[in-house]
Protein backbone atom coordinates (compact mmCIF):
# COMPACT_ATOMS: atom_id res chain seq x y z
CA UNK A 1 0.00 0.00 0.00
CA UNK A 2 1.19 3.51 -0.84
CA UNK A 3 1.38 6.37 1.61
CA UNK A 4 -1.36 8.95 1.19
CA UNK A 5 -1.84 12.64 1.85
CA UNK A 6 -5.11 14.16 2.96
CA UNK A 7 -6.46 16.92 0.72
CA UNK A 8 -5.73 20.37 2.07
CA UNK A 9 -9.38 21.30 2.52
CA UNK A 10 -9.92 18.26 4.73
CA UNK A 11 -6.95 19.18 6.93
CA UNK A 12 -8.54 22.57 7.56
CA UNK A 13 -11.95 20.99 8.16
CA UNK A 14 -10.58 18.42 10.61
CA UNK A 15 -8.69 21.12 12.46
CA UNK A 16 -11.84 23.24 12.73
CA UNK A 17 -13.96 20.35 13.95
CA UNK A 18 -11.82 18.72 16.62
CA UNK A 19 -14.46 19.18 19.30
CA UNK A 20 -17.24 17.91 17.06
CA UNK A 21 -15.12 14.85 16.26
CA UNK A 22 -13.98 14.22 19.82
CA UNK A 23 -15.76 10.86 20.02
CA UNK A 24 -13.97 9.70 16.90
CA UNK A 25 -10.63 10.71 18.38
CA UNK A 26 -11.37 8.95 21.68
CA UNK A 27 -12.99 5.75 20.47
CA UNK A 28 -14.06 5.82 16.83
CA UNK A 29 -12.22 6.31 13.57
CA UNK A 30 -12.19 8.39 10.38
CA UNK A 31 -12.54 5.57 7.87
CA UNK A 32 -15.69 7.07 6.33
CA UNK A 33 -13.81 10.35 5.72
CA UNK A 34 -10.41 9.11 4.56
CA UNK A 35 -11.86 7.88 1.28
CA UNK A 36 -10.39 8.31 -2.22
CA UNK A 37 -12.37 11.56 -2.55
CA UNK A 38 -10.34 13.14 0.22
CA UNK A 39 -6.93 11.48 0.10
CA UNK A 40 -4.29 11.24 -2.60
CA UNK A 41 -1.92 8.31 -3.03
CA UNK A 42 1.78 9.26 -3.12
CA UNK A 43 3.69 7.51 -5.89
CA UNK A 44 6.85 5.52 -5.16
CA UNK A 45 6.09 5.24 -1.45
CA UNK A 46 5.02 2.32 0.68
CA UNK A 47 3.63 1.77 4.16
CA UNK A 48 4.11 -1.42 6.17
CA UNK A 49 0.88 -1.52 8.18
CA UNK A 50 1.87 -4.66 10.07
CA UNK A 51 5.11 -3.09 11.31
CA UNK A 52 3.20 -0.06 12.61
CA UNK A 53 1.25 -2.35 14.95
CA UNK A 54 4.45 -2.53 17.02
CA UNK A 55 4.19 1.12 18.09
CA UNK A 56 4.06 1.34 21.88
CA UNK A 57 2.04 4.13 23.51
CA UNK A 58 4.12 4.51 26.69
CA UNK A 59 6.36 7.57 27.21
CA UNK A 60 10.12 7.41 27.70
CA UNK A 61 13.42 7.61 25.85
CA UNK A 62 13.81 3.86 25.31
CA UNK A 63 10.28 3.54 23.93
CA UNK A 64 10.89 6.57 21.70
CA UNK A 65 13.90 4.76 20.22
CA UNK A 66 11.84 1.66 19.44
CA UNK A 67 8.98 3.70 18.01
CA UNK A 68 11.28 5.85 15.88
CA UNK A 69 12.82 2.67 14.43
CA UNK A 70 9.35 1.24 13.73
CA UNK A 71 8.12 4.38 11.94
CA UNK A 72 11.37 4.94 10.03
CA UNK A 73 11.32 1.36 8.80
CA UNK A 74 7.60 1.20 8.03
CA UNK A 75 7.33 4.36 5.90
CA UNK A 76 9.32 3.85 2.73
CA UNK A 77 10.10 6.31 -0.03
CA UNK A 78 9.71 9.48 2.05
CA UNK A 79 12.07 12.32 1.24
CA UNK A 80 12.50 15.44 3.34
CA UNK A 81 10.31 17.51 1.04
CA UNK A 82 7.39 15.14 1.53
CA UNK A 83 8.14 14.79 5.23
CA UNK A 84 7.50 18.48 5.62
CA UNK A 85 3.97 18.13 4.30
CA UNK A 86 1.37 18.26 7.05
CA UNK A 87 -1.13 16.36 4.92
CA UNK A 88 0.94 13.17 5.14
CA UNK A 89 1.09 13.21 8.93
CA UNK A 90 -2.60 14.09 9.25
CA UNK A 91 -3.41 11.01 7.17
CA UNK A 92 -1.19 8.79 9.31
CA UNK A 93 -2.44 10.21 12.62
CA UNK A 94 -6.10 9.94 11.64
CA UNK A 95 -5.75 6.68 9.71
CA UNK A 96 -3.17 3.91 10.05
CA UNK A 97 -1.67 5.24 13.33
CA UNK A 98 -4.87 6.52 14.97
CA UNK A 99 -4.85 3.90 17.72
CA UNK A 100 -1.24 4.67 18.70
CA UNK A 101 -1.71 8.46 18.52
CA UNK A 102 -4.84 8.27 20.67
CA UNK A 103 -3.31 6.01 23.34
CA UNK A 104 -0.05 7.95 23.44
CA UNK A 105 -1.39 11.48 23.47
CA UNK A 106 -5.08 11.83 24.33
CA UNK A 107 -5.60 11.60 28.07
CA UNK A 108 -8.97 9.92 28.63
CA UNK A 109 -9.81 11.62 31.91
CA UNK A 110 -8.82 15.12 30.79
CA UNK A 111 -11.27 17.95 30.15
CA UNK A 112 -12.65 18.46 26.65
CA UNK A 113 -10.56 21.62 26.30
CA UNK A 114 -7.39 19.76 27.24
CA UNK A 115 -8.19 16.88 24.93
CA UNK A 116 -8.91 19.28 22.06
CA UNK A 117 -5.60 21.01 22.66
CA UNK A 118 -3.70 17.69 22.75
CA UNK A 119 -5.33 16.59 19.52
CA UNK A 120 -4.51 19.91 17.83
CA UNK A 121 -0.87 19.45 18.85
CA UNK A 122 -0.35 15.76 18.14
CA UNK A 123 -2.66 14.91 15.23
CA UNK A 124 -1.71 17.91 13.10
CA UNK A 125 1.64 19.55 12.28
CA UNK A 126 1.82 23.33 12.28
CA UNK A 127 5.13 25.21 12.19
CA UNK A 128 8.61 23.69 12.61
CA UNK A 129 7.84 22.21 16.01
CA UNK A 130 4.71 20.59 14.64
CA UNK A 131 6.92 18.19 12.72
CA UNK A 132 9.95 17.73 14.97
CA UNK A 133 8.25 17.70 18.32
CA UNK A 134 4.47 17.54 18.28
CA UNK A 135 2.88 15.35 15.64
CA UNK A 136 2.60 11.82 17.02
CA UNK A 137 4.24 10.19 13.99
CA UNK A 138 6.19 12.99 12.28
CA UNK A 139 8.46 13.57 15.25
CA UNK A 140 9.46 9.88 15.35
CA UNK A 141 10.33 9.89 11.64
CA UNK A 142 12.25 13.18 11.82
CA UNK A 143 14.30 12.11 14.85
CA UNK A 144 15.42 9.02 13.00
CA UNK A 145 16.00 10.90 9.76
CA UNK A 146 18.12 13.61 11.42
CA UNK A 147 20.56 11.14 12.96
CA UNK A 148 20.39 8.56 10.16
CA UNK A 149 23.25 10.24 8.30
CA UNK A 150 25.64 9.67 11.20
CA UNK A 151 28.28 7.36 9.71
CA UNK A 152 30.07 5.93 12.76
CA UNK A 153 27.35 3.94 14.54
CA UNK A 154 24.16 2.13 13.67
CA UNK A 155 20.84 3.94 13.81
CA UNK A 156 19.69 2.27 17.04
CA UNK A 157 22.85 3.26 18.94
CA UNK A 158 22.69 6.83 17.65
CA UNK A 159 19.00 7.13 18.50
CA UNK A 160 19.61 5.80 22.02
CA UNK A 161 22.06 8.62 22.69
CA UNK A 162 20.00 11.24 20.88
CA UNK A 163 16.71 10.39 22.59
CA UNK A 164 17.75 9.26 26.05
CA UNK A 165 16.95 12.68 27.45
CA UNK A 166 14.29 15.00 26.04
CA UNK A 167 16.24 18.15 26.82
CA UNK A 168 19.37 16.92 25.01
CA UNK A 169 17.35 16.11 21.91
CA UNK A 170 15.44 19.42 22.02
CA UNK A 171 18.63 21.43 22.61
CA UNK A 172 20.23 19.90 19.52
CA UNK A 173 17.23 20.15 17.20
CA UNK A 174 16.41 23.72 18.10
CA UNK A 175 19.91 25.03 17.36
CA UNK A 176 20.79 25.22 13.65
CA UNK A 177 24.52 24.94 14.42
CA UNK A 178 24.15 21.64 16.22
CA UNK A 179 21.33 20.16 14.17
CA UNK A 180 22.65 21.11 10.76
CA UNK A 181 26.23 22.36 10.60
CA UNK A 182 28.03 20.16 13.09
CA UNK A 183 25.82 17.17 13.78
CA UNK A 184 28.43 14.48 13.12
CA UNK A 185 31.18 15.84 15.42
CA UNK A 186 28.50 16.66 17.97
CA UNK A 187 27.26 13.08 17.97
CA UNK A 188 30.88 11.86 18.15
CA UNK A 189 31.21 13.63 21.49
CA UNK A 190 27.74 12.75 22.77
CA UNK A 191 28.26 9.05 22.06
CA UNK A 192 31.69 9.13 23.70
CA UNK A 193 30.27 10.78 26.83
CA UNK A 194 27.26 8.46 26.88
CA UNK A 195 29.53 5.40 26.85
CA UNK A 196 31.99 6.74 29.42
CA UNK A 197 32.03 7.02 33.21
CA UNK A 198 31.28 10.70 32.74
CA UNK A 199 27.76 9.90 31.52
CA UNK A 200 26.01 10.57 34.83
CA UNK A 201 27.64 13.95 35.38
CA UNK A 202 27.70 15.14 31.76
CA UNK A 203 24.00 14.52 31.17
CA UNK A 204 22.87 15.41 34.68
CA UNK A 205 19.79 17.61 34.52
CA UNK A 206 20.21 20.93 36.30
CA UNK A 207 18.34 24.19 36.22
CA UNK A 208 19.32 26.82 33.66
CA UNK A 209 22.82 26.68 32.30
CA UNK A 210 24.33 24.61 35.10
CA UNK A 211 23.82 21.33 33.29
CA UNK A 212 27.19 20.52 31.69
CA UNK A 213 25.71 19.37 28.36
CA UNK A 214 23.65 22.54 28.07
CA UNK A 215 26.62 24.81 28.72
CA UNK A 216 28.66 22.77 26.27
CA UNK A 217 26.02 23.18 23.54
CA UNK A 218 25.94 26.93 24.20
CA UNK A 219 29.71 27.07 23.67
CA UNK A 220 29.49 24.96 20.51
CA UNK A 221 26.94 27.41 19.19
CA UNK A 222 29.03 30.42 20.21
CA UNK A 223 32.13 29.14 18.44
CA UNK A 224 29.98 28.45 15.39
CA UNK A 225 29.45 32.20 15.18
CA UNK A 226 33.02 32.78 14.04
CA UNK A 227 34.22 29.42 12.73
CA UNK A 228 32.76 27.37 9.95
CA UNK A 229 32.57 23.84 11.25
CA UNK A 230 31.56 22.52 7.82
CA UNK A 231 34.72 23.94 6.26
CA UNK A 232 36.94 22.05 8.72
CA UNK A 233 37.88 18.36 8.92
CA UNK A 234 35.51 16.36 11.15
CA UNK A 235 38.44 15.25 13.34
CA UNK A 236 39.44 18.85 14.12
CA UNK A 237 35.86 19.84 15.00
CA UNK A 238 35.44 16.77 17.23
CA UNK A 239 38.65 17.66 19.07
CA UNK A 240 37.45 21.23 19.52
CA UNK A 241 34.09 20.00 20.84
CA UNK A 242 35.83 17.67 23.31
CA UNK A 243 37.88 20.63 24.58
CA UNK A 244 34.72 22.70 24.90
CA UNK A 245 33.12 19.86 26.87
CA UNK A 246 36.08 19.87 29.28
CA UNK A 247 35.79 23.63 29.66
CA UNK A 248 32.04 23.38 30.30
CA UNK A 249 32.61 20.73 32.97
CA UNK A 250 35.33 22.81 34.67
CA UNK A 251 33.28 26.00 34.65
CA UNK A 252 30.23 24.27 36.12
CA UNK A 253 32.45 22.66 38.77
CA UNK A 254 34.10 25.98 39.76
CA UNK A 255 30.71 27.69 40.00
CA UNK A 256 29.45 24.90 42.25
CA UNK A 257 32.49 25.25 44.52
CA UNK A 258 32.13 29.04 44.63
CA UNK A 259 28.46 28.71 45.53
Amino acid sequence: MNLHVVKRGLVAELRNKIEANLDRYLEGDFEDILTPDYVISVKETEIDLEALQKLQPQAGGEIDVENALVVYGALKGINRYLARDERLWVWLSHGPCLQYARERWVAKGATKEKQTSLIRDHFFASGARGFERNNAIACLWWWAEIVSKYPHADLRTTLEVFLHQTDVRASIIERPTSSQSALVPLLNVLIEKYNSEERLTFFKREKGNSAIYRRWLTEVNRYGGIKFYEALPEKDVTELFLKLADLARESVKSEAIAA
Binding site: A12, R80, Y81, E86, A128, Q180, K227, F228, Y229, A231
Partner: protein, 277 residues
Protein backbone atom coordinates in the same frame (compact mmCIF):
# COMPACT_ATOMS: atom_id res chain seq x y z
CA UNK B 1 26.65 31.20 11.22
CA UNK B 2 23.97 33.85 11.07
CA UNK B 3 24.54 36.99 9.01
CA UNK B 4 24.26 40.01 11.26
CA UNK B 5 25.14 43.51 10.04
CA UNK B 6 25.79 44.60 13.63
CA UNK B 7 28.17 41.75 14.34
CA UNK B 8 31.90 42.29 14.61
CA UNK B 9 34.18 39.31 14.30
CA UNK B 10 36.93 41.01 16.30
CA UNK B 11 39.20 40.99 13.23
CA UNK B 12 38.67 42.41 9.72
CA UNK B 13 36.00 40.65 7.64
CA UNK B 14 35.22 42.00 4.20
CA UNK B 15 31.49 42.55 3.83
CA UNK B 16 28.95 44.90 2.25
CA UNK B 17 27.69 46.17 5.58
CA UNK B 18 30.96 46.66 7.41
CA UNK B 19 33.82 49.11 7.04
CA UNK B 20 36.45 46.67 8.27
CA UNK B 21 38.07 47.27 4.88
CA UNK B 22 37.81 50.82 3.56
CA UNK B 23 36.07 51.41 0.22
CA UNK B 24 35.87 47.68 -0.47
CA UNK B 25 33.11 45.20 -0.91
CA UNK B 26 32.41 41.49 -1.25
CA UNK B 27 29.39 40.31 -3.18
CA UNK B 28 28.02 36.89 -3.93
CA UNK B 29 25.31 37.10 -6.58
CA UNK B 30 23.08 34.05 -6.50
CA UNK B 31 20.42 33.05 -9.03
CA UNK B 32 18.13 30.18 -8.10
CA UNK B 33 15.88 28.44 -10.60
CA UNK B 34 14.16 25.19 -11.41
CA UNK B 35 16.41 23.18 -13.73
CA UNK B 36 14.80 23.52 -17.17
CA UNK B 37 15.85 19.98 -18.11
CA UNK B 38 14.80 18.31 -14.87
CA UNK B 39 12.03 19.87 -12.75
CA UNK B 40 13.16 17.75 -9.79
CA UNK B 41 16.39 19.75 -9.59
CA UNK B 42 17.23 23.34 -8.79
CA UNK B 43 20.16 25.18 -10.34
CA UNK B 44 22.17 27.75 -8.45
CA UNK B 45 24.27 30.15 -10.54
CA UNK B 46 26.79 32.14 -8.54
CA UNK B 47 29.26 34.92 -9.20
CA UNK B 48 31.63 36.17 -6.51
CA UNK B 49 33.13 39.66 -6.67
CA UNK B 50 35.87 40.30 -4.13
CA UNK B 51 37.07 43.90 -3.96
CA UNK B 52 40.28 43.24 -2.01
CA UNK B 53 43.18 42.05 -4.13
CA UNK B 54 45.06 40.57 -1.16
CA UNK B 55 42.12 38.25 -0.42
CA UNK B 56 41.85 37.29 -4.08
CA UNK B 57 45.59 36.49 -3.99
CA UNK B 58 45.08 34.21 -0.96
CA UNK B 59 42.43 32.32 -2.94
CA UNK B 60 44.72 32.09 -5.98
CA UNK B 61 47.51 30.63 -3.79
CA UNK B 62 45.18 28.13 -2.13
CA UNK B 63 45.48 29.76 1.31
CA UNK B 64 41.78 30.59 1.20
CA UNK B 65 38.79 29.56 -0.90
CA UNK B 66 35.36 30.68 -1.99
CA UNK B 67 32.54 28.79 -0.31
CA UNK B 68 28.81 28.69 -0.84
CA UNK B 69 26.62 27.71 2.07
CA UNK B 70 23.16 26.34 1.30
CA UNK B 71 20.82 25.91 4.23
CA UNK B 72 17.17 25.07 4.65
CA UNK B 73 15.75 25.05 8.16
CA UNK B 74 12.63 23.14 7.21
CA UNK B 75 14.53 20.07 6.03
CA UNK B 76 17.66 20.46 8.20
CA UNK B 77 19.66 20.72 4.98
CA UNK B 78 22.97 22.47 5.42
CA UNK B 79 25.94 22.09 3.14
CA UNK B 80 29.05 24.07 2.39
CA UNK B 81 30.36 23.86 -1.14
CA UNK B 82 33.90 24.92 -2.02
CA UNK B 83 33.44 26.76 -5.31
CA UNK B 84 35.23 28.81 -7.96
CA UNK B 85 34.48 32.52 -8.37
CA UNK B 86 31.74 31.69 -10.87
CA UNK B 87 29.81 28.53 -11.61
CA UNK B 88 26.63 26.52 -11.31
CA UNK B 89 25.49 24.06 -8.69
CA UNK B 90 22.62 21.59 -8.93
CA UNK B 91 20.50 20.73 -5.90
CA UNK B 92 17.99 17.94 -5.44
CA UNK B 93 14.52 19.42 -4.98
CA UNK B 94 13.59 16.63 -2.55
CA UNK B 95 16.03 18.04 0.02
CA UNK B 96 14.57 21.53 0.15
CA UNK B 97 11.27 23.04 1.21
CA UNK B 98 9.97 26.52 2.08
CA UNK B 99 12.87 28.96 2.42
CA UNK B 100 16.44 28.22 1.37
CA UNK B 101 19.29 30.55 2.18
CA UNK B 102 22.47 30.98 0.14
CA UNK B 103 25.52 32.69 1.60
CA UNK B 104 28.86 33.32 -0.08
CA UNK B 105 32.13 33.37 1.85
CA UNK B 106 35.88 33.44 1.59
CA UNK B 107 37.30 31.14 4.25
CA UNK B 108 40.89 30.44 5.25
CA UNK B 109 42.07 27.03 3.99
CA UNK B 110 45.13 26.99 6.25
CA UNK B 111 46.70 29.16 8.92
CA UNK B 112 48.18 32.34 7.42
CA UNK B 113 48.67 36.09 7.53
CA UNK B 114 46.81 38.80 5.66
CA UNK B 115 48.26 42.26 5.11
CA UNK B 116 46.18 44.96 3.42
CA UNK B 117 46.43 48.75 3.39
CA UNK B 118 42.63 49.03 3.29
CA UNK B 119 42.11 47.46 6.71
CA UNK B 120 40.38 50.00 8.94
CA UNK B 121 42.74 51.77 11.34
CA UNK B 122 40.39 50.85 14.19
CA UNK B 123 41.97 47.39 14.19
CA UNK B 124 45.33 48.97 15.07
CA UNK B 125 47.25 47.06 12.42
CA UNK B 126 47.19 46.45 8.71
CA UNK B 127 48.14 42.82 9.29
CA UNK B 128 46.37 39.98 11.08
CA UNK B 129 46.77 36.24 11.40
CA UNK B 130 44.01 33.85 10.46
CA UNK B 131 43.50 30.15 10.94
CA UNK B 132 42.02 27.35 8.88
CA UNK B 133 38.21 27.67 8.83
CA UNK B 134 38.19 31.39 9.66
CA UNK B 135 35.87 33.69 7.70
CA UNK B 136 37.71 36.37 5.71
CA UNK B 137 34.80 37.70 3.63
CA UNK B 138 31.07 37.32 3.95
CA UNK B 139 28.34 38.09 1.41
CA UNK B 140 24.80 39.18 2.19
CA UNK B 141 22.63 36.04 2.22
CA UNK B 142 20.08 35.53 -0.53
CA UNK B 143 16.83 33.78 0.34
CA UNK B 144 14.63 31.95 -2.14
CA UNK B 145 11.38 30.10 -1.86
CA UNK B 146 11.63 26.51 -2.99
CA UNK B 147 8.02 25.62 -2.48
CA UNK B 148 6.55 23.94 -5.49
CA UNK B 149 3.65 26.35 -4.99
CA UNK B 150 5.97 29.22 -5.84
CA UNK B 151 6.58 27.78 -9.28
CA UNK B 152 2.88 27.34 -9.85
CA UNK B 153 0.49 30.19 -10.79
CA UNK B 154 -0.26 32.71 -8.08
CA UNK B 155 -3.72 31.17 -7.74
CA UNK B 156 -2.12 28.25 -5.87
CA UNK B 157 -1.87 30.33 -2.71
CA UNK B 158 -5.65 30.40 -2.38
CA UNK B 159 -7.90 27.80 -0.88
CA UNK B 160 -11.66 27.67 -1.02
CA UNK B 161 -13.50 27.28 2.25
CA UNK B 162 -17.18 26.57 2.69
CA UNK B 163 -19.41 29.03 4.56
CA UNK B 164 -23.08 28.17 4.29
CA UNK B 165 -24.16 31.59 5.55
CA UNK B 166 -23.05 33.24 2.31
CA UNK B 167 -25.42 33.48 -0.66
CA UNK B 168 -24.69 32.53 -4.26
CA UNK B 169 -22.31 35.05 -5.80
CA UNK B 170 -20.98 36.22 -2.44
CA UNK B 171 -17.50 35.57 -1.15
CA UNK B 172 -15.22 36.84 1.58
CA UNK B 173 -11.44 36.78 1.83
CA UNK B 174 -9.39 35.96 4.91
CA UNK B 175 -5.67 36.73 4.90
CA UNK B 176 -5.21 35.17 8.34
CA UNK B 177 -6.08 31.62 7.34
CA UNK B 178 -4.24 28.66 8.83
CA UNK B 179 -1.02 27.45 7.20
CA UNK B 180 -0.50 30.86 5.64
CA UNK B 181 -2.90 30.44 2.72
CA UNK B 182 -5.42 33.05 1.64
CA UNK B 183 -8.85 31.60 2.26
CA UNK B 184 -11.77 32.43 0.00
CA UNK B 185 -15.06 31.72 1.76
CA UNK B 186 -18.22 31.03 -0.22
CA UNK B 187 -21.16 28.68 0.01
CA UNK B 188 -20.75 25.13 -1.27
CA UNK B 189 -22.26 25.79 -4.69
CA UNK B 190 -20.16 28.90 -5.21
CA UNK B 191 -16.98 27.04 -4.17
CA UNK B 192 -17.81 24.44 -6.81
CA UNK B 193 -18.27 27.21 -9.41
CA UNK B 194 -14.82 28.56 -8.54
CA UNK B 195 -13.30 25.09 -8.87
CA UNK B 196 -15.03 24.56 -12.22
CA UNK B 197 -13.77 27.94 -13.41
CA UNK B 198 -10.22 26.83 -12.70
CA UNK B 199 -10.57 24.05 -15.25
CA UNK B 200 -11.12 26.30 -18.30
CA UNK B 201 -9.31 29.22 -19.85
CA UNK B 202 -12.45 31.39 -19.84
CA UNK B 203 -13.21 30.49 -16.25
CA UNK B 204 -9.68 31.34 -15.19
CA UNK B 205 -9.96 34.76 -16.84
CA UNK B 206 -13.13 35.42 -14.87
CA UNK B 207 -11.61 34.23 -11.61
CA UNK B 208 -8.51 36.38 -12.12
CA UNK B 209 -10.60 39.50 -12.66
CA UNK B 210 -12.95 38.91 -9.78
CA UNK B 211 -11.82 36.86 -6.79
CA UNK B 212 -8.07 36.88 -7.34
CA UNK B 213 -7.84 40.53 -8.32
CA UNK B 214 -9.69 41.64 -5.21
CA UNK B 215 -7.71 39.24 -3.04
CA UNK B 216 -4.29 40.24 -4.40
CA UNK B 217 -5.18 43.92 -3.94
CA UNK B 218 -6.00 43.17 -0.31
CA UNK B 219 -2.79 41.17 0.08
CA UNK B 220 -0.61 43.95 -1.35
CA UNK B 221 -2.39 46.52 0.81
CA UNK B 222 -1.91 44.38 3.91
CA UNK B 223 1.79 43.93 3.15
CA UNK B 224 2.29 47.67 2.71
CA UNK B 225 0.23 48.69 5.76
CA UNK B 226 1.07 45.92 8.21
CA UNK B 227 4.27 44.18 7.12
CA UNK B 228 5.04 43.12 10.70
CA UNK B 229 1.75 41.22 10.84
CA UNK B 230 1.80 39.62 7.42
CA UNK B 231 5.34 39.43 6.02
CA UNK B 232 6.03 35.96 7.43
CA UNK B 233 2.87 34.34 6.14
CA UNK B 234 3.27 31.83 3.37
CA UNK B 235 1.18 33.81 0.90
CA UNK B 236 3.22 36.93 1.66
CA UNK B 237 6.52 35.16 1.05
CA UNK B 238 5.31 33.78 -2.24
CA UNK B 239 3.81 37.10 -3.32
CA UNK B 240 6.98 38.98 -2.38
CA UNK B 241 9.19 36.49 -4.19
CA UNK B 242 6.98 36.68 -7.28
CA UNK B 243 7.09 40.48 -7.16
CA UNK B 244 10.85 40.43 -6.80
CA UNK B 245 11.23 38.02 -9.73
CA UNK B 246 9.08 40.31 -11.89
CA UNK B 247 10.72 43.54 -10.68
CA UNK B 248 7.42 44.76 -9.24
CA UNK B 249 7.58 47.22 -6.38
CA UNK B 250 4.92 46.13 -3.93
CA UNK B 251 5.32 49.43 -2.06
CA UNK B 252 4.42 51.34 -5.23
CA UNK B 253 1.77 53.95 -4.36
CA UNK B 254 -0.04 52.85 -7.49
CA UNK B 255 -1.33 49.79 -5.72
CA UNK B 256 -3.51 48.71 -8.61
CA UNK B 257 -0.57 48.64 -11.00
CA UNK B 258 1.27 46.18 -8.74
CA UNK B 259 -1.83 44.00 -8.62
CA UNK B 260 -2.31 44.11 -12.40
CA UNK B 261 1.29 43.09 -12.94
CA UNK B 262 1.37 40.39 -10.26
CA UNK B 263 -1.54 38.72 -12.02
CA UNK B 264 -0.03 39.24 -15.48
CA UNK B 265 -2.64 41.87 -16.43
CA UNK B 266 -5.76 39.73 -16.05
CA UNK B 267 -8.07 42.17 -17.84
CA UNK B 268 -6.04 41.55 -20.98
CA UNK B 269 -6.75 37.80 -20.65
CA UNK B 270 -10.46 38.44 -20.15
CA UNK B 271 -10.59 40.84 -23.12
CA UNK B 272 -8.86 38.31 -25.34
CA UNK B 273 -11.30 35.62 -24.22
CA UNK B 274 -14.32 37.80 -24.94
CA UNK B 275 -13.00 38.99 -28.31
CA UNK B 276 -12.32 35.38 -29.32
CA UNK B 277 -16.01 34.68 -28.92
Amino acid sequence: MKYDIEKSFGYPVLSTHSDDYLKSDFQADIEFNVDPENPGLFTVDYIYACGVKEIRDLVAKGDAAYWLKVSCRSTFYSKMYEVKATGTLKLDGHDLRDLVEFSGYVIGSRDGTLTCERINLEFGSKTFEFVNGQVLAQGVPTVYITDKEFWKPISSIFEYMRNSELKDGEYTIDLDGEKGFVQVFANEAQCQVFKDFEKSKDGKAILLNTVFFVAVSKMVEALVDKPEQYADRKWARILTAKASAKNINIGDPKLLIATHRLLDRPLRALTTTLLDK
